[in-house]
Every structure is written in C-alpha cells, then in structure tokens.
Symmetry: C2
Amino acid sequence: MATGVSVENINPKVLQCEYAVRGEVAIHAQRLQQQLQTQPGSLPFDEILYCNIGNPHTDAIARAKKILSMIPGRATGAYSHSQGIKGLRDKIAAGIASRDGFPANADDIFLTNGASPGVHMMMQLLIRNNRDGIMCPIPQYSLYSASLALHGGSLVPYYLDESSGWGLEISKLKNQLEDARSKGITVRALVVINPGNPTGQILDEQQQYELVKFCKDEELVLLADEVYQENIYVTNKKINSFKKIARSMGYNGDDLQLVSLHSVSKGYYGECGKRGGYMEVTGFSTPVREQLYKIASVNLCSNTTGQILASLIMDPPKAGDASYDLYEEEKDSILKSLSRRAKAMESAFNSIDGITCNKTEGAMYLFPRIYLPQKAIEVARAVNKAPDVFYALRLLDTTGIVVTPGSGFGQVAGTWHVRCTILPQEEKIPSMISRFREFHEEFMAQYRD
Amino acid sequence: MATGVSVENINPKVLQCEYAVRGEVAIHAQRLQQQLQTQPGSLPFDEILYCNIGNPHTDAIARAKKILSMIPGRATGAYSHSQGIKGLRDKIAAGIASRDGFPANADDIFLTNGASPGVHMMMQLLIRNNRDGIMCPIPQYSLYSASLALHGGSLVPYYLDESSGWGLEISKLKNQLEDARSKGITVRALVVINPGNPTGQILDEQQQYELVKFCKDEELVLLADEVYQENIYVTNKKINSFKKIARSMGYNGDDLQLVSLHSVSKGYYGECGKRGGYMEVTGFSTPVREQLYKIASVNLCSNTTGQILASLIMDPPKAGDASYDLYEEEKDSILKSLSRRAKAMESAFNSIDGITCNKTEGAMYLFPRIYLPQKAIEVARAVNKAPDVFYALRLLDTTGIVVTPGSGFGQVAGTWHVRCTILPQEEKIPSMISRFREFHEEFMAQYRD
C-alpha cells in the first residue's frame, strides 16, 4: 500500500462515526450470503433473512409500476433547480397544506436524495465545532449519531423510557439541556423521530405540544423526522405533523424554526432505492435560507426520478380518480399486513423467555430488549464486542437472521436490544420466529448465570 | 422570524463557501425567466439562454431513451449495497480495464449520485482541520473550492498558465507545495481536472507522467476529475486516464493513492438529472477503505437509476451488437457537433475586441478573458461586486445570456473571465454571438478608460 493516507491520519471524525444499520453484522451477512451462493449447504440455514434494515420493496413493486405508468412522459435527464423541480414542490406544498390544514410554500421545500441529505445539510448549517450540540432521543436512528460525528458536533441525549412504551418526559429533556449548557455546549436543535425509529412509539398530541413549546422557549431548531408518518398500526393514536401542532398553537415562522423530513423510502410505498425525499424548512430568515440553498446547490440537485416520487407520495390519487379505489385498497392492504406482522412479531418476542418487547405503534421496527446473562456479557467483552453485537452475530451465524444490535442506536447502560424490522414476508414469520426462539434458548442455556 | 438560528451564528464555513455556477447570476436569471413568463415583452430579449452550466440534455434525450429501452426490466426500488449494485460495478470495472489495458476491481468502485458526492467523501476522509490542504488548479471547478470551504480545509492553489493554453508546470507546483508546507499546511491531495473545467485544455501525456510522479514522490492522493474523458475536440491529443498513466509507469496500489471520478452528466450522454457517477479508489489500505465504505453507508446508497446509467456509459454497445452502428453514429454526431460549437464560439470570441479565448480542446466550456476597462472595474467595486460579476449581470440584463463569472473559479489577480458552455443549439450560436458582441461593444464604449 502507498503510504500517504493511512487510517492513523485520516479525519478522526470519520473513525468516530458509527452507522449501526450498515455495520459489522450487515457486512458479515453479505459475506454469508456470498458463501451460500458459492457453497450451498455449507451453513446451517439456506437463506439470509434481512431483518436489520427497512427495505419494504417487495410489497411496493406492483404499486410503483402503476404510479410510474400514470406519469406523463417527463424529461428527467436535465439538472433541476437546486431545491428540486418547482412544479413538484408545488404539489408537495399542496399535499402538506391538505394534510395539516395550514398553508405550505413550495419555496420552503428542498427535495433531497432520500431524507438523509436533509439531515446532513442542517448539520452542515448548524455545527460549527464540537461545542455545538444537538439533542437526540436515545435510542435514536443511527443517521443522527453518525452525521453528528462526521460534522464534529456533540450529541446531547434525551432518554426515552422503555417501561412506559418509550415515553418522553419534558422535565427530563430540560435537565439534559441544562446539563449540556452547563458543560459549555451550545444546543442548537432537537431531533424528534415520530413515529420512533428504532422504538416504534407514536407521540401523544400533548407530548407534541410540550415539545414544540420547549423548542420555542429554548430557541432550538425542531428537526422533526416524520418519514414514518404513514406507518401507523394502532387505532387509539394518530400522527400529527409537528407543523400542524405548531400552527395550531398559533406559532408560525416568527416563533419556531422547524424542519420536517419526509422520504419515499417508507410508508406504504417503500421505494428506497430511488432516493427521493424532501425537507420543509420554516422559520428561518432569508439570509439563512440563501445559505441552505447554497449548500443544496453544491451537489447541483437531487435525482429527478426521486423528486417525482416525492411529489407523488404527497399527491396520491383522490376520491373520484380512476385509480383511487385500487390505491386505497393497496395502501390499506399493505398497511394492514405491516400491522399484522408487527403484532405477530411483538407477541412472539414477548413469548420468548428473557426477551420483552414494547408494542410497535408505528414505523417499521421492533426493538426487543434481550436480557443477556452475565456470562454472555463477559464472553462478549473478552472478544472485544458489545454484548448485543456478539448476540446478533451469533444469531446470524446460527439462523441466517440479520438484526441490528441496539448499541448502534444507544440504550440505557446495562440494557441490550436488537432492532428487527417488521418487513419479512408474512408467511415467513412463523418459521423465522421459531428459528429465533430456538437460537435464543440455546444461547441462554449456554451462558446461564 | 424566530431568533435561534441567524446568519450570524450558523456555521461560518457555510458562509465562506462559494459555488459560482449556481450563484448570484444564476439566481437573477431565474428571476428574469419568471418575469418573461409573467410579463412577456417587458425585457429587451424574449428568452434566457443558459450558457452558465453544462446541461447537455437536449442532445441526449433520444439516446437515453434507446439506452433505457435496452435495459432488462430491473427492480430498482430497493436499497442497494452502499457502494452500488455489485453487477453494475463489475461492468464498470470491466469497462475501465478495457479502456486502460490494466485490470480494475469492482470492490474499488463507489457508485455515487453524480461525481460530486465522491469529492465530498474524499474531503470528509482527508480534511481534519484548516491545516489540512488540497492542491487545486486555478482556475478550478467551483465544486472543489466550495467543498473545501464546507469541510474546513485549505485550498492550496496551483496556477494554470493562460498564455500557454492553460498549461501546467511541475516546477511551479512544487513551489506552491513547499510554500504551503512552510505555512504549516499538511497537503493531502492534488486535484487535477482533465480535460479542464472551466479551461477546456487537455494535458499532454508528459505532463500526466510528471503529475503522477509528483504525487507519488510527495505522497499526495491524486484526485483525478475525469468526468469529461469523452469530450475531446482536437485530433492531436488524446485522453489518458491517470490510472493508465500510473500503471504504465509501473506504479500500482503500493506506490500511489489514486481516485478517479466519472459521471453520467457529461460526455455524449449528458444525463445530468439522473445523478449517476462513480469513483474508482486504488492504493488505500483495507482499514481506510472500510472507513470510506462507512461514509458511503451513512446515506445508504446512491439512486439505482443513476447506478444503471453509470454502468451503461462504461459498457456501451460493442461492434457486432445490433445497436452498435447507431450508437457510433449518434455519439460521433453529438461529439462532432460539440466540437463545431466549440470552434465557432472560440473564433467568435476571439473576433471581439477586448476578448481573447483559448482553444477548447475538451470538456464543455470556453473561458474567454474579458479585458475590462478600469472605469468598469471601479464602478463594479463601487456597487460592491466583483468586476466580472458586474459584467455578467449586465450581459444577462441586456441580452438574456447567462454565463458564470470567472471569479468563482479563481483567476490570476487583475484578469477577468467568464465561463460559457459550448452547449447552445448550433442554430442559435450566430445570433447569440452577435448579441454578445453588440453588448460587449456598448459596455466597452460606456466605460472606455
């Protein structure tokens, strides 16, 4: 190897950055997948079951084909406006206005390659050095910890309470904020993920009001990750966008700096490979918005196919349209199926000794807690692995099931979890659960304290 | 406006970042475009002619349709491997090997949303603080200065010599490197753009050998921006990839850390809205490549449509294929047309008093030098504009022609340029040039010293 750039002298922020859902377990799974292809029968299972990352593609192909066939022949090969094609942003703004009952403006929309670049853009804007911080829920989707590390900022945690279904207490938030401030951290924003990833809970309206007021009072940018806004599996709660909540409190762009992220990768559409998404940015001055525009323009524009899809999810067929009944039927069928899978997997996990699992109210994940025996923890430490990584690697090697270790999302010290998607095909769930159960019982027997 | 985030307290790196090709002139052009739509006849011209940014879409639509119709029905909706779909990377590696006559490996390929994210990833990897620097040609494509500013690194300039057709002298490079080092800058990489952007020159083979040796001797990463490798308009030079040059010198991954960038946005295909591109990364240790993989994975993957297009440009129809003759004919016709436009516009610029213009040997731009009168420079300064920005805004207001001011690319102090694409339709060039000439003569008459 040439000698100029080595792992010792690259940007240490890159080393510090962790991105759990594509980490060690996922890499090992790719290796095993290849082994299954080249040496069939060489492993104790004959397929890899990816439960580690949300890839709801299977369900979406038929629906996507129909959507695409409805688009008039658009020339998508040219660069667009850096914020995205104006007509598509108009459609998105109209969709937001219709969802919330409050006006939205196409100039506030930035179309992005999936939702992630919006997070990067905001971090680029806000993080000046490691004394700038952003409040993130723990557990959190690893995009936030990873991009904070890459941008060199500080993660200020606020803990979700597992015992109350990943609940949120504003008083604790306030303590964490003051604690960070007392350490000289300038807290610039608060991330909220609703429904939660990896935790799957849906915030109560009351909690949303309190969060909005907290951000307003403390002058924090509210970064609302609302990519799972269509994924809801309970009847006693509903999803309110933070924009709707803020506007219904009478707060507008003069009171609150609010960023809402959305994506075509989730919901009932799941076109994750297309990299479509947007952020709606309100409450920022024109000079700041011009700076955001500049950041967007450095990569010229997001891909136009993804732009079109982002507009379509905010402008679905309406009652009276020829496709409406079919659309409703498919949407309903996909969401009902996801809901059944969530419930089936949740009760299966809860039926396994040494595992507890909160209800998945929304999003696409279960985040079961694994009560690991002390002996397993010690063995994991001895081989220099986080105990949940050790568990997940053993699970993969034994069963072919891929989950993401909880340590990549953050968890209360001494507790261990895995994130498991609700996306396996329904007919595969019973055998997947029985493989999981068998593995878990053997694992526990081996390491019983 | 809410008060938390203001332009005074956002990340100052964002403020410092300039991105000329989407800057003030381009924004003003969008405004005028809108005015032409809402109030036809209110301006002294009836269309905006975008010569500021490479958007070769017009020519490419027909070709792109044919390419796409040749792709078997692929399911493109799922997340892919973070480096891109393996089969597509295989095709790209085979295309590189066939182009260079030296082997290439799919594991070295990172598929990206256009070429720009590759540059960001390398900067993220290399730039630890403002004492890390990257050598860039001046003039340079503003992506490099913009992303260096965003990542907080130092731009170490090396000047291209306008009088010798934007030539490059290694001895001067060495001086600039030593000068930077004497100031405490750790120079980590050297950017070379071949063919040049905005300058359009093609490096001699000898210069390429010297550059490779220079980077090897000085342990600099060679960042080779080769996105215009198909755009060549002279018969006495040819494009050699830096990988081919390095391998033909006997250098391999043990001697040289080399990154080559390519894109589907240029060449004879020009599918810029699709955001397809790749970087080939050789000479880095496995731990460093794992870190690069991690950076790639933070945004999950690039869009799959762009990935497919990137593989197609490196795997075009071959002799014997049904489409080969048509492909050759179309490619040849597009490139010949671009070549005619380059020559026509170059001689037109050179026929205008007070403008000189080097030959465009490759890429998609002319970079004429505008000899501005002192009085114009003073008036520009008085209204707080760079003189070439002042000139370009006046050109736009008077004629509807959009060019990018040279100051966004860097230029020798006291010289002024504009970057003008060779992409206007051929039949529009004569009238465009006569409008330009008329404007320039009036401008010079108004500000004559």
